[in-house]
Every structure is written in structure tokens, then in C-alpha cells.
Amino acid sequence: MSAPSLAPYILKRPWLKRWMVPFANWYADAAGYRRLGLRADDLIPEENDTVQLALKRLSPKESYDRVFRLRRAFQCSLAHQLLPLEEQTKPEEDYKYLSPIIAEIEAELKERADLESVIVERKK
């Protein structure tokens, strides 16, 4: 599921964006998942229907790569090792591949809920 985010608020304000982007980059790097070869979207909890559906909608290649990254990261974690530097996720590889699909599914669900509870007023 998508978590609440300040990002849209910050991105709308260029002066704030100038301040925050270097800090955000530093934070993402310091979080450590990139050292295990993961992407930020790999960390989204998948134990719910929305994300399960989103995972089904991934292209076969994306889906295969995701499983590979997760298994490699588990292996590293068990072995108490970090990946060699060239295999670690580079910042440009750390793009959103799953969250746009999740957002789309959530929008669908919200629309359905809205339409279920809509009260129709006809023009007189």
C-alpha cells in the first residue's frame, strides 16, 4: 500500500525541493537496502490484496527481476554480507516500478467505493 507522503508538497515548492533532494538522496542511500541490491519499491509490504494484484500486473521481466533481487537480498542477509560494490543498486536504478501500479489500483478501489455510495441528484 502506498504510505502517506510529503513528497508532492515538497516537489511543488522549488526552494524546499532544493533543500530536501540532497537530504533525501543521502537518506535513501543510508537506509542500506541498496547495499543488498534492492529497490525502494521492493520494501513495500506485499501481504495484502492490492499489492498482490499489482504484482500480478507486473510485466514478466519485472516480476522475474523482483524475485531475483529479493532472493539475493535474503541470501546476503543470512550470510551477513553486503553485495560487491558493482552489484549494489545504483541511485538511477532505484526507480518506482510497482508503486504507480499500486496507486492505479487504489484509485480504482476508491472510485468503486465512491460510486457505491454516490447519491444521485437529477437536474430538475
Binding site: 500486473r57 510485466s59 480504482e108 472510485e111 468503486r112
Partner: protein, 461 residues
Amino acid sequence: MASRASLGSRALQATRRQVSVASFQRRGLAAAASGSFQYETGDSSGIKYASRDLPGPTTTLTVVAKAGTRYQPLPGLSDVLEKFAFKSTTKRSSLRITRESELLGGDLSAYHSRENLVLRAKFLREDLPYFTELLGEIISKTRYTTHELDEEVVRVLKLEQKGLLASPSSLALNSVHAIAFHRGLGEPLHPTSSTPISKYLDTRTIAEFSRAAYARSNIAVVANGASHSELSKWVGEFFTDAGNGSQVFDLSSPSSQYYGGEERIAHNSGNVMVLGFPGSSSFTAGSSFKPEISVLAALLGGESSIKWSPGFSLLSRAAKDFPQAHVSTQHAAYSDAGLLYVTISGDASHVAKACSNVVEALKKVAAGDVAEEDIKKATALAKFKALEAGQQTDAGLEATGSGLITQGKAFQIDEIGAAIDKVTGEKVKAAAKQLLDSKASVSAVGDLFILPYASEIGLTV
């Protein structure tokens, strides 16, 4: 007790007394003062449209695209494009489309035939602008997403394939078309489950095909029960985004050629024999339209139009000793060819015996051994059937649309009636003789141990 005659006249008097002034002022369906049975046609920046203002509170609006299975560049594309109708567009989701049309009480559907793909909306007359906008949006702004293909379209397609596989008559009909026309018109209406379609179906191909199918020159908008000025106004406003075609696919099909032959398919649930012969193209095709073929189809018949009687038709008389065989004659007319076919279905042994009687009856007609009286009855029935089909909105709309696209000519039912009236007995006999001179297309589906070969029942293939 009062006699029946006196009761009848009394009932008549009672109804006369009840007729009020108001009911005289209400317009009936065919009242001459209101509306017209003829289609008015028009052209709005390349999009052809036609309407007939049938008086009544509802409207049927269709977009007919010349993109049926005959024109599909890859197998299964027409089927999938039909199922993608009313899926999400760039402006609204499929759920929203459904809910909005439910609110307005509309009915949306899509289907395809061998030549056309038809998107249809039925609704209350005052909602014309909404549904015109919707159809305009469907043909130009559908998103064709992969997840809709995987989660909805392919599932429905598979269910339909199962239905097809369970129906011997549809299998036989597909098979007889394939035998008669090979490619083009011979393409199966729905792919069977053993057709390898999944390798052809991806959203990019489907979107490209939709651009070709819904190109300006390839569609016609046809409405029943809408005033022409209204329709032209809204088509002009909402169909502006229709595309100009695709660079990849060119939807053309070589002119149909009749081949003929025989195919036998083993099937466990039902027995069907279809005997096909070259027919006539549809009315909108112009010169190759032969009204005597539809009279011949009515003459052969097989199904009675009244209850508890075998009827006058030759085939119902020929097959009356085999009550478990059901015989019917149809004439499928397409834009440049046609297929006259006799379907015999039911119990295998009865079908086998009825088949040889049917062929004998055909040979009798071809030899000219048919009563003038029967031909007159058949002419009347053929005329009625043609006019009724034109009057019923569905068939009339599709025929008008395809006529508009190919010839710029709408389906005018009065002219068909006149054409059938001109058919003479000699013409019918000549047409019947021609049938047997050409090769037949014979398709047998069912218990092949019992069902006969074409040569056994005396047909040349």
C-alpha cells in the same frame, strides 16, 4: 350460450365503444405522418452516418466498423477488439462507463459478424448526446491496457471458446464457411480453443488494429429513432477524434471466391450436417445481389412458420418422416458473396436419412419439378423475412452500416421488397440448377460413423 359469431361481434362493438379520442391522437409505429422508414444519410468530415426517425421513446445507436473476422490481420483480433469495447478510456474507467449508463437506463453491447464489428447502445431518446459522446470516446480513446486484457478480455474469450466447442452447430457453420471461402469470409467467427491466438494478442497489436478498425473511412454511425439533425449535430461534435487509420495494418480482403469441399469433425454432443452452396451477396452490394436466392431459401425452408404443420416448404416435406432431424435453410449474404446453406441437426441416423431426402428435393427443384403455387408462397415468405429483418433494428443497423462503408448506400427495405417481387419461377429454377452445377460445401459434425459423406448423398464436392 351465445354463438361464437355473435360474441365476436359484441366484443368488437365493446372495443369500438372504448376507443377514446386520445388513442387516435397517439402515433402508432408505422404512422405515415411521423418519422420515416427510410434512412437519411450524411457525412461529417469523413464519418458516414445514417438515421431513421422511428417514432418511439427509445433510440438505438450503433457504430459499425468494417473489421469483422474477414478483415482481421491476425487471428482473434476482431474478437478481442469487440471485448475491449466499453473498457477503460483515457477519460473514464470501465466501471464508470457501466455505472453512468446504468443511471441513464442504457444498454451497451458489442458483437461482431464475419464482416463487421458493431458497438451498440440502446437508450432513452433524450440521452442521445451522452451516448454519442461515449461511442466517440470508445473508438478513439480506449486505453487497451495489458491488465484488462489478462484479467477480463482473455477470460471472457476462453469462456466463449468453451461455449463454441460445446456447440456442434457453430462448429459446423464455421467449418462450412472455411470450406466455401477458405480465407477472408472463411475465417472462423470465434477462434476455437486449439487456435494459437495468445502469441498474436498483445495490447500494442490490439491498439494498432483498433486504429485501423475505427478509422474514419472504416466506420459508420447508424441510429434508429433519432432525428437526423440531432444525430448530425452530435456526431459532428463528438467524433472529431476518430483516427485516420494505421500505418501497420491495412484492413482489406481480396474479393471472395467460392471453393467448396468437405470437412468432417467428430463430436460427442450432437450431430449437424451443413450443406452449403454459393449464394447471393447482400442487397447493399448492388449488381451481385440476386433476390431469387432468398426466394429459393424460403422455398427450400424446412422450418414451418405456423404451428402444428410441416408447412409448405420442400425440405420440411422431404424430412417429415424423420421427426428427430431438424432441417432449416438459411441464406447468409455478405458484401461480395453469399452462402445458401441447409442445416440438418438432431439424431445421427435421422440426420443421415434426412440428408439424402434433402438432396433429392434439391435435385427436383433444379430439374424444374416445383409447383408455381409453392414459388408464390416462397416469394411472399422471402419478402416478409427480408422486410422484417430490415425493420428489426439490429440486422437493419448492421446492414445499413456496412452498406454505408462499402457503397455509401443505406439499407432501404422498400427496394428489397420490390426486388423480391420481381422474382419469377424461371429465375428460381435457374438459380437452383446453378446450385447443383457448382461444387457443394459439406460439413459434418458429430457421430461420423453414421453421418454420410457428401458422395453418399449424391453431392459433388
